[in-house]
Every structure is written in structure tokens, then in C-alpha cells.
């Protein structure tokens, strides 16, 4: 088992730069997620780690070993595919055995490890079935068992949950995380689902247009986005352009905001961002960071109520508790706590 390092990795497709200088260190046993919209280069990066394609420049290292020229079958990675990619002509047991057979593991040990893997993913009794006779969730388990049974140095996931329904997705997400922690295997996980990324990862890598926008622990990334792209991609964000006016003050078309103390601003144009759930209906008499907004929409979402607000032509979103009794057309004051406002690029 080893860590994974990417050094300035670049990959082109024809004239298109899919991955544009990615640098990333993943520690032993860490689960890191590549998150981004389609075409951001996350799957290409994953496929380069697996060895299905070579970087045009840069290095891929497992531990200290440079892997660029090592073919996929000598890399000791194991991948769970979005389509599961089970072998349709083999039974569940044969599918799981495949990696062991290729590694010429003795038959007795094969039996033992296959049995273990089948128990781990709770597939007892289905060993003799073909993939075509299994449900989507069961196929997903076979794919997972087939990957972990080989005891890979690096475990790779390519949107493994996207073909499952929402309920099952949450359950399997937890199971994958638990299993990964127990095995302590270095894991690279690709998804475009921000909730999945936040829930499963030690660290999340947000990618955009082939580049890394920001790397961080889920909460840090969510609370302290550095760019408007990250703020907007991870959850929803209200992003407002303005001008710095002093160290902790930003003037915008919708009012003046005092911002958190951890960063000094110079002068010139800046963007500020805050989460919809950080907006509150202002208490009477409050003065700091007040926005007078017209309520344009009230949407009941179960555990919270979502408001669509209009402030001098700029649309904002707020999440308030379900006790909210305002109506469309109301003019209300909202407060944004200064420590929740982030200055973003």
C-alpha cells in the first residue's frame, strides 16, 4: 500500500486540454475525491492513474515509484466502474476471482479471499449467479468485491453510485466509506455530486477546466471557498461583486458589508460570497450587514424554507426555518453575519 502523487500532469485530446497541470499528493490510506462538472478532467485524471491513458507530460507516482510507463495490468490498482463493467459470461464468484487468477494466487487462498469478499459485501448465496441476473445494487457490490479482493495499492472509483437510486446511494456511500477506512486503502474517488463528495472524503479536490480550483477537507472547503466557482459548485452561494473600501469593508450595489477579520483587503474590485442558510430575517433595530429584499418566491422544502429574493435587481437565495410566515411580494430586512461572508476570487 502506498500514497499517490501527481506532478504537473497534463493530457490533451486533439486540441483540447483535458487535464492542465494537476499537482496532488494523496497520503496512504486517505480518501480523496475529484469533484467537478463534466469535462473538468476528473475522469481523465483517474484513467491516467489506472494506466488506461498516459499523461502527455508530468509524472504519476505510487509511493516513490514513477508509474507513467507501467501498463495497467502491472499497476495493482483496482477500479470500480460507473457501468460496473462486470464480465457477463462469468458468475459472481468467477468475477471476483478474476483478479486473483491473473495474479496466480494459489487456489486455496483464492477460495478464502473470495469467501471473505463475498461476506464483506453481503453477497452470500448469489455466488453462482450471472451479472445479468442481479439487481443494480447487487452488481455494484460485485464490482466492489472484485476490486477489494485483489488488495490493491490504490482503489479507484469512477462515479460508482450514479446508477443507483437516491436511497440506495446514501446507504452504499456509507458502506464504501466504512470499508475504505477499515482496509486503510489509498483511494481516489471521482464524482460530480457535491453532497457525495462532502460526505465520503477526507479531502475534496474541486476541478474546473482541467485545473485544480481548490483542495481541502469537506468542511473547510464548504466554509472557506477561495473562488466563486468553488463557492457555487459546493452547495449554493450568493455571490455579489463590489469594491473593497477599507480592510474589512466591501461596497456593493446592494449595500455595504463588513466581512470576516481573517483576511485584509486592499482596494479595487472584489467578490463576496455567502451561503443561503447563513441569511436570516433581521431582528428589528439591527444595523450591520442588512439587506432590504423583496421576496419573489417561497418554496417549502421540508426541513427548511427556501426564499428567492430580489435586491435592486440582483437575485439572492436564503434558507430560513419553516416558521417563516412571509409571503411573495413582502419587503423584508435580512442580515448576513460578517463571519459568514467570504471574499472569493
Amino acid at each position: 500500500m502506498s500514497g499517490l502523487r501527481l506532478r504537473n500532469v497534463v493530457r490533451h485530446y486533439g486540441g483540447f486540454t483535458a487535464v492542465d497541470g494537476v499537482d496532488l499528493d494523496i497520503a496512504k490510506g486517505e480518501l480523496v475525491t475529484l469533484l467537478g462538472p463534466s469535462g473538468c478532467g476528473k475522469t481523465t485524471t483517474l484513467r491516467m492513474v489506472a494506466g488506461f491513458m498516459a499523461p502527455d507530460s508530468g509524472d504519476i507516482l505510487f509511493g516513490e515509484r514513477r508509474m507513467n510507463d507501467v501498463p495497467p495490468h502491472r499497476r495493482n490498482t483496482a477500479m470500480v466502474f460507473q457501468s460496473y463493467a462486470l464480465f457477463p459470461h462469468m458468475t459472481v464468484a468467477e468475477n471476483i476471482a478474476f483478479g486473483l487468477k491473473m495474479r496466480k494466487i494459489p487456489a486455496a487462498e483464492q477460495m478464502r479471499r473470495i469467501g471473505e469478499a463475498i461476506d464483506t459485501v453481503s453477497l452470500r448465496g448469489l455466488e453462482a449467479r450471472r451479472p445479468g441476473q442481479l439487481s443494480g445494487g447487487q452488481q455494484q457490490r460485485v464490482a466492489l468485491a472484485r476490486a477489494i479482493v485483489t488488495q490493491p495499492d490504490i482503489l479507484l472509483f469512477d462515479e460508482p453510485l450514479s446508477n443507483l437510486d437516491a436511497k440506495l446511494r446514501e446507504k452504499v456511500r456509507l458502506e464504501i466509506r466504512e470499508l475504505q477506512k477499515r482496509l486503510g486503502v489509498t483511494t481516489l474517488y471521482v464524482t460530480h455530486d457535491q453532497v457525495e463528495a462532502l460526505a465520503i472524503s477526507d479531502r475534496v479536490v474541486v476541478m474546473n477546466k482541467g485545473r485544480i480550483e481548490q483542495v481541502g477537507a469537506p468542511e473547510a472547503l464548504y466554509r472557506q471557498p477561495l473562488t466563486s466557482f468553488v463557492a457555487d459548485f459546493l452547495g449554493a452561494a450568493n455571490i455579489v461583486s463590489g469594491t473593497a473600501a477599507g480592510d474589512h469593508l466591501v461596497t456593493t450595489p446592494i449595500g455595504r458589508f463588513s466581512v470576516g477579520p481573517e483576511r485584509k483587503l486592499g482596494s479595487g474590485p472584489v467578490k463576496i460570497s455567502w451561503r443561503p442558510e447563513d441569511m436570516r430575517v433581521a431582528a428589528p433595530g439591527a444595523e450591520a450587514n442588512i439587506v432590504g429584499a423583496r421576496v419573489r418566491g417561497v418554496v417549502f422544502c421540508g426541513s427548511f424554507t427556501e426564499l428567492v429574493l430580489d435586491v435592486a435587481g440582483q437575485q439572492l437565495r436564503a434558507q430560513v426555518d419553516t416558521g417563516f410566515r412571509g409571503r411573495e411580494g413582502d419587503l423584508l430586512d435580512f442580515a448576513v453575519p460578517s463571519d459568514r461572508i467570504r471574499v472569493v476570487a
Binding site: R75, M79, F81, L86
Partner: protein, 282 residues
């Protein structure tokens, strides 16, 4: 649901009905003629003498020759078509051009193909002239009308290669690249990916390709007539000789029945193979 079925039936009736009617009628006539009924020459009476007359050396030799050409062409073509299909599978520079050139024999009728290759392989043909000119051989090689039927096999392979290639390419196309990637990822070298994944998954397609070429070549007339050995002839050539040279319509009908039912037997195998393909596809 009921009207849907009726509509479907009406839609396929013109095509399928036409084929069924003529096929059934022709097969029935031939079978009847082989036992002396419906005779076109002489009187009609039930007899098995035509069938007994087949039990001679000439028929057996022709049957074995046709079987040899059928099996030899089917598998001989596969030896070339499968590796080629594997190679053409990945789109690389030039594969499209190669793929197009290879399809040319599809558009050349069998008789024309036989004559074309005749010119190459003949006693004073292009190949012999070249070899003589280069001083590699002293005397022209006899490559035509040889007793074994090598030249028939060569022409059949040339002619049927694109046909098998089309079937195999479609079969290989249907294997998801993810499945291949998964095998490589789990430690299979390129050769083992072919052996453990691609070969078994394309086996039904291989069977179809082999059976179809067998049926096409087992009943061949033109190529054997032009390039085949003087003796034995293929079943189709023998059938023609019996009917038009020897006026033995009854025996000819018997041979026709043999060719048809041998082919039908292989169609049955083909149908099973097609079902297996459908199952794996699920």
C-alpha cells in the same frame, strides 16, 4: 395487443410469406422427386432407387470434397478474419482505409472472383511468371485444378474474408470497452484480455461467422467448376452433371436434398448461436 400482433403479421406476410411459400414448395418438390414422384422425365412412381444409386464412390467423394471445402473455408477464413477484426477494432491511423479495401471481394461475384484469381494462379499466370522471372522456380507450379482443392480454398477465403469480418467486427463492437478496461485493471495482460474476455464474449459471433461461410461454400458451384479438381467435383457440380449431362433428375434431386438438409442442420446451429449472443448481450 391483439391488433398489434395482427398488424405485425400483415407487415411481414409479403416478405416472409413469399420466401416461405417458394422455399417450402421447392424443398417439397425436390424431396418428392428424390423418391421418384413428380418426375420431370419418365414416369412418376414411388422408388428409392435414386437414393441407392448415390451409394457409390463418386457421390461419397463429392460429399467429402464439399464438406472439406465447407469446413476448410469456414475455419480457414476465420484464421485471417478474427485477428484482422481484432486489429481493426481500435480506430487507428489507416484502419478505415484498410477496412474499406478489405470489403472489395464482397462486391465481386463468385464466378468473377474465380476468374480473377485464376489469372494469378494459372500455369502461365501472374504468380508463376513472377516467380519464374525472379528465378525462384525453374518450372511453373501447378496451382489450379489440384486434386486437394487448395485453390478453391484460397479463392473461398479471399471471397468470404470481408463477410466474416463484418460479422466479427459487429460482435467485437458490442463488447463494452469498460469490460476490457476492467480486465486490464485486474491484472490481465493484453493477451489474457483476449483469451479470457474477448474470445469468450465473441464466441457466439465466431460460431455464426463459421456456420454462414460453411453454408455458403458447402453448396458452391461456380468456384469449384472453374478452379476445382477434375475429380471429385463438389456436390452442386455433381448435381448439375447428373441432371443436365446424364439426365438423372432423380439422383440430382437426392443430391439437392442432401445439400439442403446439411445446410438446414447448420442453420439450426446458427439459430442457437444467435440466441446465445442475445443472452450474453443482456
Amino acid at each position: 395487443m391483439r391488433t398489434d400482433r395482427l398488424t405485425l403479421l400483415l407487415l411481414i406476410l409479403p416478405g416472409a410469406g413469399f420466401i416461405f411459400l417458394f422455399l417450402a414448395a421447392a424443398i417439397a418438390m425436390t424431396v418428392l422427386q428424390s423418391v421418384g414422384l413428380y418426375s420431370l422425365v419418365g414416369e412418376s412412381k414411388l422408388t428409392f432407387e435414386h437414393w441407392f444409386s448415390l451409394a457409390d464412390r463418386t457421390f461419397v467423394d463429392s460429399f467429402l470434397f464439399s464438406l472439406k471445402v465447407g469446413v476448410g473455408s469456414a475455419f480457414g477464413t476465420l484464421v485471417f478474419s478474427y485477428p484482422l477484426a481484432l486489429f481493426l477494432r481500435r480506430r487507428r491511423y489507416g484502419t478505415q482505409l484498410i477496412g474499406s479495401i478489405i470489403k472489395i471481394p464482397l462486391f465481386v461475384p463468385a464466378l468473377v472472383a474465380a476468374f480473377l484469381i485464376l489469372n494469378v494462379l494459372a500455369f502461365h499466370g501472374i504468380l508463376n511468371s513472377t516467380l519464374l522471372g525472379l528465378g525462384i522456380i525453374d518450372r511453373p507450379l501447378r496451382m489450379l485444378n489440384d486434386k486437394f482443392g487448395w485453390n478453391v480454398l484460397i479463392i473461398q477465403i479471399w471471397k468470404n474474408l470481408p463477410f466474416q469480418l463484418l460479422i466479427l467486427a459487429a460482435t467485437l463492437e458490442s463488447i463494452q470497452t469498460d469490460i476490457e478496461d476492467a480486465a486490464r485493471n485486474l491484472g490481465a495482460s493484453p493477451w489474457r484480455v483476449i483469451r479470457h474476455i474477448i474470445l469468450p464474449l465473441s464466441a457466439p459471433g465466431i460460431l455464426i461467422a463459421v456456420v454462414l461461410v460453411f453454408i455458403l461454400t458447402f453448396g458452391d458451384y461456380a468456384i469449384t467448376k472453374v478452379a476445382g479438381p477434375v475429380y471429385p467435383s463438389s456436390l452442386s457440380v455433381l448435381m448439375y452433371t447428373e441432371a443436365f449431362t446424364l439426365q438423372q433428375w432423380g439422383s440430382a434431386a437426392c443430391i439437392g436434398v442432401v445439400i439442403t438438409f446439411a445446410s438446414l442442420l447448420f442453420v439450426a446451429i446458427y439459430a442457437r448461436a444467435a440466441r446465445a449472443v442475445a443472452e450474453i448481450g443482456q
